[in-house]
Symmetry: D2
Subunit: 285 residues, 4 copies
Amino acid sequence: MVSNNTSVVALLHGPDRPGLVARVAGWIFERGGNIVHADQHSDADAGIFFQRIEWLPSANGAAADEADFAAYARTLGMAVRVAASTRRPRLVVFVSKFDHCFHDLVLRWKAGELAGDLVAIVSNHPDLGAAARGYGLPFHVIPVAAATKPADEARQLELLRELGAELVVLARYMQVLSADFLEKFGRPVINIHHSFLPAFAGGKPYHQAAARGVKLIGATAHYATRDLDEGPIIQQDVARVTHRHSVDDLVRKGRDLEKTVLAQAVRWHLENRVLVYGNKTVVFD
Amino acid sequence: MVSNNTSVVALLHGPDRPGLVARVAGWIFERGGNIVHADQHSDADAGIFFQRIEWLPSANGAAADEADFAAYARTLGMAVRVAASTRRPRLVVFVSKFDHCFHDLVLRWKAGELAGDLVAIVSNHPDLGAAARGYGLPFHVIPVAAATKPADEARQLELLRELGAELVVLARYMQVLSADFLEKFGRPVINIHHSFLPAFAGGKPYHQAAARGVKLIGATAHYATRDLDEGPIIQQDVARVTHRHSVDDLVRKGRDLEKTVLAQAVRWHLENRVLVYGNKTVVFD
Amino acid sequence: MVSNNTSVVALLHGPDRPGLVARVAGWIFERGGNIVHADQHSDADAGIFFQRIEWLPSANGAAADEADFAAYARTLGMAVRVAASTRRPRLVVFVSKFDHCFHDLVLRWKAGELAGDLVAIVSNHPDLGAAARGYGLPFHVIPVAAATKPADEARQLELLRELGAELVVLARYMQVLSADFLEKFGRPVINIHHSFLPAFAGGKPYHQAAARGVKLIGATAHYATRDLDEGPIIQQDVARVTHRHSVDDLVRKGRDLEKTVLAQAVRWHLENRVLVYGNKTVVFD
Amino acid sequence: MVSNNTSVVALLHGPDRPGLVARVAGWIFERGGNIVHADQHSDADAGIFFQRIEWLPSANGAAADEADFAAYARTLGMAVRVAASTRRPRLVVFVSKFDHCFHDLVLRWKAGELAGDLVAIVSNHPDLGAAARGYGLPFHVIPVAAATKPADEARQLELLRELGAELVVLARYMQVLSADFLEKFGRPVINIHHSFLPAFAGGKPYHQAAARGVKLIGATAHYATRDLDEGPIIQQDVARVTHRHSVDDLVRKGRDLEKTVLAQAVRWHLENRVLVYGNKTVVFD
């Protein structure tokens, strides 16, 4: 149960059928709740209903019972996530040596743009330690090597458990997380890929882009899955380039794309605006 | 009442209060209707609730009665417009000599992009007559001169009445419609202004833009009101320009902006996606 | 030789070395020509110099001799194309049934945006015949079938020879031109692909995009080569899409991208702004 | 004179006449220099020639003499600025309490994106002192009050002289610099205005934008002049907003615009890519 001046956000999806909007709204209204936002979408081809609904519970809190609402939504055949809007997920950022997404996320978090608690920075290199500590953030170095990767990932998982991590953000972290890691962590991991996926998956995408002679470069934030660069896309953006731009220029311009695209994906995720189904996302922005 | 495989769209707005989503959805559900889209917004500062809701009526059509729904919405304090999605407003396009928005609108209409019936072209010049007739469209020339403007506008109004016009689109029509005309017509008029309003209101905006040395030029589609270039904005877009672009280049690039911005505004209006309140719009896209 | 109030445009490229800008400008200046635009680029990695230079010849026309200039440029080791700015290449547009790029190109040509002569429309279907003839354009139907493709292409080539075609534009022409056709034609062919290449090469790219759940769709204008969808890219652009957009919406939004991207590529080509080297382009815009 | 592996950049403008490109390139070539970039533009209406030219001097440095080149350019009637590409102007950033542009500029400078030396932060408030010192940057507080403004500005000018400031960047500095200050400083001052100028000049532009109901918000970087918000525009950009965005959302989205627009303007200025003439700029990007 949440305090009276806190809203509740629910994300629902399941088989579409008549009356879903009315039933959900009715449940809230009957308990004295006041809906402040509601956004729904039906995928006519797939026959799936999606909804993000946010409401202010009544003074007596009857409509604020997250577990009750979730139970009701399940009687409608819906998969559901419910959270108080004040519930701030614990966020851990993984970095390597590139620092632009790291600084950007930390500064946005300090500016109050991210509805979560940034609890630690984890890296396979010591380079960004001083900067992290300068921000007052715990910094953990866990080196990763091909030969010792299973043990290294076990240490990462142990750390995430200790930290109570509910979201991992890969801010240009230069190691691939194994399928085993993702399964054992069991929580969302958001990655930034420095190309407009599915173009230029894999390594050195700016070099690939320069070699192909594209006129736009891009960046893609997506949930990490066992299939590298194939996870559900949350946000993408592009910037125009010309023959005057060297690979170094693409890298520089790309940094701006990577920062804003990753930050927007993380912000949306933390505000419970992203629903994953199949290999796609519905973003209620 | 509409046939069973036709959806109904309602646009509502009025003072916000608890239960509006639930009541509206409940009214539809109780009559066997199935909501296929619903989008609502609350302007917290102004305390106004906005909703666009679209539903499939039941087999017996009970939820399809537009007048009944409108009456119910009014009991909730809402201003309301309701229409069957198959209801195609009668659209009249005003032109002068520029033909790019004219061709663009007609071709989009022929391609099925516009949910209305384009019934005639009206112009103060004969120039586009052959092109209009080539498209099979009636073309009416009503010259307008400063000295005879009241009489000229009276002829335009008479024609619009005969045509049953429900929307007028000013496709680079080079005359200002008087406040008197707008009041007597009493239906929406959409205009395209060739700048990013409120920058460069008034005449020759591309020349103004070149003189000011801006790095982006724009176009703005808005409802015409008695205050020139001050009406509620429906859509805007911009394009990048550099010192290499002459005024002629701005005009050429601007044509592309004007076409797409005007077409999108008209499309949204015809799909009942635009709600006007005060001097602003809510666009449910 | 060109008349005195006509500018000359040269496109050069070759191994970079000191003095190229000075020598080229000096050659023109010594003959009384006045450079009105000059744009050069050096690809430092590849060691290649690129230049687009435009000048007004002197009253006696000495600097207007295109063959003389080309000969001089070759002594500098440059590959070169020279043309009077009034020289309008003969342009043939290939279409199938989609008409949006067709109308767009024709209307831009009529508006004076394209520095070439649109001499005919060629199609494998009769559908757009009436529209082409309505524009006063010759329309040639040459059906193409898998079994008879070599013969069909031979007829196309024969027609292009008769028409004196110097550029073919594939305006959503739904047949692949064979490597043999491209070689025998020996002139540039510009194609519009309805995706952000290299993403979604091949068929039904909007369906591919919807299946992958991308947040931006794109269009790519490129020179056709024997490797399908692999030719040098001239221009690309993207538009934002969300989960609310069905494949039909992607197709509709994509039409606008296809039109503007293809038209811009054709315009640049006709103004001698595009240099191809390897599998890339330099666009002097 | 510069070392042999340093390029020289010159910005020229003056009355257009035949032979300028050839003469400038010839001067460099005769002294053994190798032009690596050259970009010129003629404003046909104003009859003005603009050029940015960059060259590698010869081994003996003859073409590297900046003063000699400047003298030669002046014999051609050109106003000219010449600088070795390694010449790093001394940059001072003015801030108040907003920190987003401050962090952004400092981090880009540390990442090597800015071709100048950031020598100090000046503020009318102490708030950002700890952050500045955390970056290892001198931080000077000079309070400014209406009653004491002439004296306050005198202190600022004295400090800028001591610092050898060659460029001042107003990174959301919330005081207007007087015409007297600008004249006495005599060096460029770049400001970021949080709107798409000339729309919403003056105070609280995001509130103005929300009140007008625009569909895009913008930011504008310009040289500060005695006419507030009227100086030559260097760069502008916009972002899309909808009715769902509150003023707070506009402010948040605007921060991203302000950061990138200001940083790009500063980067271009420091790379000698910006030429001012009248109230406009030519940006050789």
